[in-house]
Amino acid sequence: MPPLPQELINGVPINAYLGLSAVLFTLGVAGFLFRKNLITVFMCIELMLNAVNLSFVAFSYKHGKVDGHLFTFFVMVVAAAEAAVGLAIILTVFKNRQTLLVDEVDSLKL
């Protein structure tokens, strides 16, 4: 294994975490834009939430406070609620129109 540069030995720079969270978030957005399966789209939302959580925790490490953790905690709870309702909605959608394609579900207009 190549020797690490000296400034990396004594810890990871905080903005590496932030960058990682940014990358994950963007991937989530990409998935949201390009995937067609409702459930997958929903999972992409979860991915975005996770990315944001990571940055929350990173920031709370930076400030040595616990608040970021609490935000993460709340995000988790809300995500759980959202998953429950959202999946129920997806089930209903599938029951009513036998499809999971986001593009098919577009009658809510005009």
Partner: protein
């Protein structure tokens, strides 16, 4: 040590995320998402957020994703067929937008926080044990906590109402 672990799991999470949006099959996406969550849990540990790491595993990986999996299995959602018609703007604008977005984010992070400012090491973590989280949760953040509980209640009702059979 921290650096190596961070490198491994950061790579793992990104890889899983890519797989997730690349994979055609929902179950694969779900599992790779679980992979992302698991590696994020490790990263939380590195950041000293032990409680959040455990909660991440229990709530996200243990409960939410299981729900997803169950739904996928119930609906037996297979591969995605070619879409009949899809959003023009998303197809055209999507990729460039995302690139710009990532670039701008990176730029902001770069200019906002200089690299040499904070070094994350597990040993140096100040807060994040279950005690700290609980203490803050039930004192300063009590009201949000209560409200969240109400939200969860509402979600339960909504799920029940949506999922129940129509009574004849």
């Amino acid at each position: 040590m921290d650096v190596i672990l961070f490198a491994i799991f950061a790579f793992l999470s990104v890889a899983c995320a890519v797989i997730m949006i690349a994979q055609k099959h929902p179950v694969s996406s779900a599992l790779s998402l679980i992979g992302v969550m698991g590696s994020l849990a490790i990263l939380y540990l590195l950041l000293g957020a032990t409680f959040i790491a455990a909660a991440q595993l229990i709530v996200y990986a243990g409960a939410i994703m299981v729900l997803f999996l169950i739904v996928i299995m119930l609906l037996n959602a297979g591969e995605e067929p070619k879409p009949s018609h899809q959003s023009l703007i998303a197809r055209l604008l999507g990729a460039p937008l995302i690139v710009v977005f990532l670039g701008a984010l990176g730029f902001i992070i770069y200019i906002s926080i200089p690299t040499e400012e904070t070094k994350v090491t597990f040993a140096a973590a100040k807060a994040g044990s279950a005690e700290d989280v609980g203490m803050a949760l039930f004192t300063r953040y009590l009201l949000p906590f209560e409200i969240t509980s109400v939200l969860v209640l509402i979600a339960i009702l909504g799920a029940v109402v949506l999922a129940r059979k129509e009574m004849e």
